[in-house]
């Protein structure tokens, strides 16, 4: 071993990066967190509460922040280039410095699908159309002129997910349950509002998700309509008129809403694709980074010394991401051990 | 014996007379009202039965056995049986002997109906005769009998478990007044008779008591107030009687002849239904018996409470109790006076108003009719439920083939409903439309036997379908006969322990208990459940209940299963697809239909 304390570049300080860095530090390595944004925490830091127990996002972040308090963290730092050396990787950072490391962990996470690409939903065009992220920010800040005592709210599932034409044929996994969570929160906030969820399939696979769904139906009276919204128009009073087919009754439905929330899906972070190309790490057909083995080695890349954690390999939930981050830390540990 | 008072009167009899006059008047009017409320045909039938010797004998026997001796209760619970018969029969004998004494000693006073009750106050013993001593002895004997009954009653009230009841009814305020006055009557009588025993004479209880009292009281001043108290206690009891559960005493005496005459509930609140409600003694046997009362749930929905709410006219609760019931019939099976809980409830359901009434007249059943037309032989109607338990249909078909029976399936691709679920929901008029449609198919088939593997269907086909010339038979009976006739040879599997679950509709509903057991015994060794035959416990899946949710039914099913498995059988066997489907979900061992077991051993 060249260095008693190998340096591991952890790209991205979202929950995957934070958890992995904290585990690596505990294992005696020197992780370096590289974060593009001015704060750590990634998407979870922008979220208010998390399904299915309505846990405040803060509660998930706090232990991670505590665990990485002593880890070197570079904020506002982008990676200009990555070079692969023999057994080592050299990262040129946006501040001009370079970082030589013995392993790279991609914790680059995901990008929320740009909802304005689904033009027919009118995000960025109609006043009353917002995204899941906008709503979550409203839960945090309570400041959004678009949300004004709505009497009818719609949620559109699968915006930019399972949509070949939108460039993302994959399921984003978390939107169904997020929509249900947000629908419940909106109903709690505005008990008189009628809330509609327009879905293609409801994919409630996780622990307690189905209970959450039953509660949304029975206790909150949220209307689930199986059918994707075909188009959104604006009525003279600025409310939005949405059209869909209720596929269960085989009839077109139309409803006027005060607020339409688009459940923007998960796509791979384009930066991750860029870095991967630079060091010859494979990108999968779905745009996410390609694991060496999707069953047995999801955290391993096709290159030695490069590892993945979290949503850079596909949509993940918070517990999956955390578990994968720990798993990646262990994989890195084994990697250094095997090199002697 | 001589009379002590020339007038034959003392003011203390007034309370009794008032009470007696009130209760007799009330009961007479109530009886006339009930009889008038009967539909004309029923009324005629009932009145005719009263003058038919056969019925007179039946009525007398039943009234004696049920109202006085409480034979049914003896069979169920010896302590409770003794308690009831000691009070009823003892009291009855006191009244009879009292009259005998009056007739023997002061026949001129027989027209004073209070005289036999207070006989010992009005007479003085002039000489001791054997005859007098015997009567005195009997009077004391029966008084002791009643008192022993009262003692048990008091114990039961405070510790019902001692007499073998887990739960008993909660009494209303008036019931308590009635109860306490009833308890008071006989100790007061003992006191009153004891105080006057040195004058009127007495026997083994009253004489020593008299002696005892005289030792420290020394005078007769206590005698009159005690007779007053006795009279007042009687008065209170009789005045509250019509408004308490004790109304069952007179009501049952009308119920028995009416039931013997074959009168049925035709109106949810009038006539026979009203009489049944008043005949309910409020004993609460139905609470423990009710399968819904498992884990102390739904205790307030037992028949005893339905009757109470019906008397109070609490419509919300009547509807709730009526709709929740599984209609398993167990409350009727255990009821001492034979109140028909399920029938009463269905009558309430039938009273409902609906915004929407189904109609099936427009259905074209031609394809079903054409498929079986003129086939003759045995027509097997598998029924809706069997579609969810295809093993029953397959096993039945296989057995029929093995026995060489010429048979046809009436509903190969699903037929119509038999109509029984509609009847249970109180929509018997609509059920008639389905019955008419099914009749069309059955008649067209020209069959001689209609075979059913579902007891729900069996009951309605047997009772409601005018199928003269066609034998309606449940498969358990049919297979038992085939085995007995040697057409099916079943191999006995030694050591195979089987428990038979009596489905409600087959057992209590149609009285079929033994044939399935006989058939089953050819295949294995029969073990019995904790409660069986008429006391078997509903599986909880019954269509009878309109409101019980799946979650509420689950503990009932578990309870029924626990009962079935007390003897640790290898398999639970039943003859109802609904019981089967209900048990299978929760059972810890195989649950099979009788046909499946037989087919496997054939």
């Amino acid at each position: 071993m060249v260095n008693r304390q190998p340096i591991i570049a952890v790209i991205g300080a979202g929950i995957a990066g934070l958890e992995a860095a904290s585990q690596l530090a505990a294992l005696g390595y020197k992780p370096v967190l590289i974060e593009k944004a001015p704060v750590v925490g990634g998407h979870v830091a922008e979220w208010n509460r998390l399904f299915p127990d309505m846990t405040p996002a803060e509660d998930v972040l706090q232990p991670l922040l505590a665990g990485t308090a002593k880890v070197r963290t570079l904020l506002n730092t982008e990676i200009s280039a990555i070079n692969r050396l023999k057994d080592e990787y050299n990262l040129i950072l946006s501040d001009g410095s370079s970082l030589l490391c013995q392993a790279v962990l991609f914790a680059t996470g995901f990008h929320l699908f740009d909802a304005s690409k689904k033009e027919e939903y009118g995000y960025g065009i109609y006043d009353r159309v917002i995204t899941n992220r906008d709503l979550e920010q409203w839960f945090n800040s309570r400041q959004d002129a678009r949300i004004d005592k709505p009497r009818a709210v719609g949620f559109v599932h699968c915006v930019g997910s399972r949509d070949l034409k939108a460039g993302n044929p994959q399921c984003s996994k978390v939107c169904c349950i997020t929509a249900i969570k947000q629908a419940i929160e909106m109903k709690e906030e505005f008990p008189d509002a009628e809330i509609y969820c327009f879905y293609m399939d409801l994919r409630l696979f996780g622990k307690k998700y189905e209970d959450f769904y039953i509660r949304a139906q029975r206790d909150y009276g949220i209307h689930f309509i199986r059918g994707r919204i075909s188009e959104v128009g604006e009525a003279i009073d600025n409310r939005v008129v949405v059209k869909a087919e209720d596929t269960l009754s085989g009839k077109p439905v139309k409803v006027t809403l005060d607020l339409l929330v688009l459940m923007a899906g998960i796509v791979c972070n384009p930066d991750a694709q860029q870095y991967a190309r630079e060091i010859g790490v494979a990108v999968d057909e779905d745009g996410f980074l390609k694991s060496r083995n999707n069953l047995a080695a999801i955290t391993d890349s096709s290159r030695p010394g490069v590892f993945f954690a979290g949503a850079c390999t596909g949509a993940k939930t918070v517990p999956e991401t955390l578990a994968e981050a720990r798993s990646a830390a262990l994989a890195i540990h084994n990697y250094f051990n095997s090199r002697g | 014996m001589r009379e002590r008072f020339a007038s034959g009167f003392d003011p203390f009899v007034i309370p009794f007379v008032i009470g007696m006059a009130f209760v007799l008047g009330y009961c007479l009017i109530a009886m006339i009202r009930v009889i008038c409320q009967l539909p004309k045909a029923d009324r005629k039938r009932f009145l005719l039965s009263l003058i038919t010797p056969k019925y007179i004998w039946m009525n007398l026997r039943d009234i004696f056995l049920n109202c006085l001796i409480h034979v049914k209760l003896w069979k169920r619970n010896k302590v409770l049986g003794y308690m009831h018969s000691s009070i009823a029969f003892g009291w009855f004998m006191l009244i009879v002997l009292g009259h005998l004494e009056v007739m023997l000693f002061v026949p001129e006073r027989i027209h004073l109906f209070y005289y036999p009750i207070f006989f010992n106050y009005f007479v003085a013993e002039t000489e001791q005769t054997l005859q007098g001593a015997l009567l005195m002895f009997l009077m004391d004997f029966f008084l002791l009998m009643v008192l022993s009954g009262i003692l048990i009653a008091i114990i039961k009230r405070f510790a019902s478990r001692i007499v073998g009841m887990r739960r008993t009814t909660r009494l209303s305020a008036l019931d308590r007044v009635g109860l306490y006055s009833l308890w008071a009557i006989f100790p007061l009588r003992l006191l009153a008779e004891s105080f006057t025993a040195h004058i009127s004479g007495g026997s083994f209880m009253t004489i020593p008591a008299n002696w005892l009292f005289r030792q420290f009281l020394g005078n007769d001043l206590n005698a009159l107030p005690t007779w007053w108290a006795y009279s007042i206690a009687l008065c209170i009891f009789m005045c509250v009687l019509p408004f308490t559960r004790y109304m069952h005493i007179p009501a049952e005496m009308l119920l028995i002849p009416m039931r013997n005459a074959g009168i049925k509930i035709r109106h949810p609140r009038k006539g026979f239904a009203l009489l049944e409600v008043y005949s309910c003694p409020g004993c609460g046997v139905c609470i423990d018996a009710c399968p819904m009362s498992v884990r102390k749930t739904n205790c307030k929905d037992a028949t005893v409470y339905l009757n109470r709410q019906l008397r109070r006219g609490n419509e919300r609760r009547i509807a709730e109790i009526s709709d929740k019931c599984l209609l398993c019939g167990k409350c009727s099976a255990v009821c001492q006076v034979g109140v028909q809980g399920p029938e009463l409830r269905v009558a309430q359901r039938e009273r409902r108003k609906f915004a929407l009434t189904p109609s099936y007249t427009g259905m074209d059943v031609q394809p079903l009719t054409a498929a079986v037309a003129g086939k003759g032989g045995v027509l097997y109607f598998a029924g809706c439920m069997t579609q969810l338990t295809p093993s029953i249909r397959r096993a039945t078909a296989s057995l029929l083939d093995k026995a060489g029976v010429r048979w046809h399936l009436m509903d190969p691709d699903g037929g119509l409903c038999c109509g029984r679920p509609l009847m249970m929901a109180g929509r018997s008029e609509q059920a008639r439309e389905l019955i008419a449609k099914n009749l069309e198919i059955i008649r067209a088939s020209g069959c001689d036997t209609l075979l059913l593997s579902c007891p729900i269907c069996y009951k309605v086909f047997k009772e409601e379908y005018p199928l003269e010339g066609v034998r309606v038979v449940h498969h358990s009976v049919f297979f038992q006969e085939l085995i007995a006739a040697g057409k099916l040879s079943v191999t006995h599997e030694d050591g195979l322990r089987l428990v038979w679950h009596d489905p409600c509709e087959l057992g209590r509903g149609c009285g079929i208990y033994e044939q399935p057991r006989q058939a089953l015994a050819t295949a294995g060794e029969i073990v019995e459940a904790g409660m069986h035959h008429a006391e078997s416990i509903c599986c909880g899946g019954s269509l009878g209940s309109l409101t019980l949710s799946y979650e509420q039914r689950q503990p009932m099913t578990q309870n029924a299963l626990d009962n079935l498995t007390v003897a640790d059988p290898d398999q639970i066997v039943t003859g109802c697809p609904l019981c089967l489907a209900t048990f299978v979900r929760m059972a810890d061992r195989p649950v099979r239909d009788l046909a499946e077991v037989l087919d496997e051993h054939c």
Binding site: E120, I125, G233 | -
Partner: protein
């Protein structure tokens, strides 16, 4: 409505439209119903603005109507289109401009199909050769005539005699723009501004001073729907569609409708009469209808051509209230005079819809 949002989308759908040298193919329907529109397109583009616009009397239908009515297979339509291309090639042009939206869609669809299935193109070339011994080159650009007017909207605005402004109030006129379905719904990138918020017509309206209104059923079909109209049994669906659009635009009180498709102005115009007869309801002011014009007619009005020369008298809905609103002079006595100043006969007047 966030206008910037729309502009962002428009910027994503910039279509390259050549400046000059066009091979123009006319529309079967428009030649019959709105001949003056096509005439004025030629007048404006070639005569007024001096562009090179060529047309040949040898061109035929593109086969689009038959294709969309399921009466001919696509290969037949392709061969017809191949012949048009051959005519263009023979004339030495590379830029195709079609008068008809369905033709435009048909050309685009066929070119895209050939791109995906080159063997099909080879077969069509063979068919064409066998049929009429012609050969062709595919056009470099295919544009709809409204694309050309969109491109030239600035030049037209510079020469404008009238603006789409109410003379009385100075307020911009409220204009409903209706895009033909085959313009960009099949290939959003072939239309100016894409399929969801096309700006080909709204660009003209805004350049000429009007205000476009955005109503919920803006994207809905005019109701023609080929088989829905052509089969009489289905005509109820056709008129119901149109009715739905009018119900949706009614609260906005539009002053006029402009369209870029042959069928749309026809159905948005004529069905107003049928709806009025059936329901007693009219959508314009004072019992009149909402005039539904073609973009050439609108361009012609802006440029100061005589309304009757533009053929406005052959619309069911009278254009007079609109002309009065803008302040365009017209001679009511000339309304039903033909080009030779002879009476072309007055139509009978409807019972409900007021037509001046």
């Amino acid at each position: 409505m966030i206008y910037q949002g729309k502009q962002k989308i428009w910027s994503d759908y910039q279509k390259e439209i050549p400046d000059d040298h066009w091979f123009y193919v006319r529309s079967c329907i428009r030649q019959s119903f709105f001949p003056a529109s096509e005439t004025h397109f030629v007048k404006i583009v070639r005569d007024l603005l001096g562009k090179d616009l060529y047309e040949t009397p040898h061109h035929t239908t593109c086969g689009g109507i038959a294709y969309h009515s399921d009466t001919i297979p696509q290969e037949t339509a392709m061969t017809i289109v191949a012949r048009q291309f051959a005519l263009m090639t023979e004339a030495g042009y590379k830029n195709l401009v079609t008068s008809c939206i369905t033709s435009f869609g048909n050309y685009c669809e066929i070119l895209e199909t050939w791109r995906e299935f080159p063997e099909l193109e080879a077969r069509i070339r063979e068919h064409l050769w066998k049929a009429c011994r012609r050969e062709f080159e595919k056009p470099e650009y295919v544009a709809h005539a409204s694309d050309v007017i969109f491109k030239l909207r600035g030049e037209i605005a510079e020469r404008a005699k009238y603006h789409l402004v109410s003379r009385a109030t100075g307020e911009p006129l409220r204009v409903v723009e209706h895009i033909g379905c085959h313009y960009s719904k099949m290939f959003p990138h072939k239309g100016v501004g894409g399929a969801e918020y096309p700006c080909v017509l709204s660009g003209m309206v805004e350049s000429w001073g009007g205000q476009v209104i955005d109503y919920p059923e803006r994207r809905h079909c005019c109701g023609f729907g080929f088989r829905q109209y052509l089969v009489k049994a289905n005509r109820g669906y056709s008129v119901s569609n149109t009715h739905k659009k009018f119900e949706s635009m009614e609260p906005y009180h539009p002053d006029m409708i402009i369209t870029n498709c042959p069928g749309c102005p026809y159905f948005l115009d004529r069905w107003q009469y049928v709806i009025a007869e059936q329901t007693g309801k009219t959508y314009g002011q004072n019992g009149c209808g909402i005039p539904a014009l073609t973009y050439e007619e609108l361009a012609g009005l802006v440029l100061g051509y005589d309304p009757w020369d533009l053929g406005l008298q052959i619309h069911q809905v009278g254009p007079e209230p609109l002309l009065d609103k803008i302040g365009i002079p017209y001679d009511p006595n000339r309304k039903y005079l033909g080009l030779n100043e002879k009476e072309i006969m007055k139509p009978g007047l409807p019972t409900v819809l007021k037509c001046c």
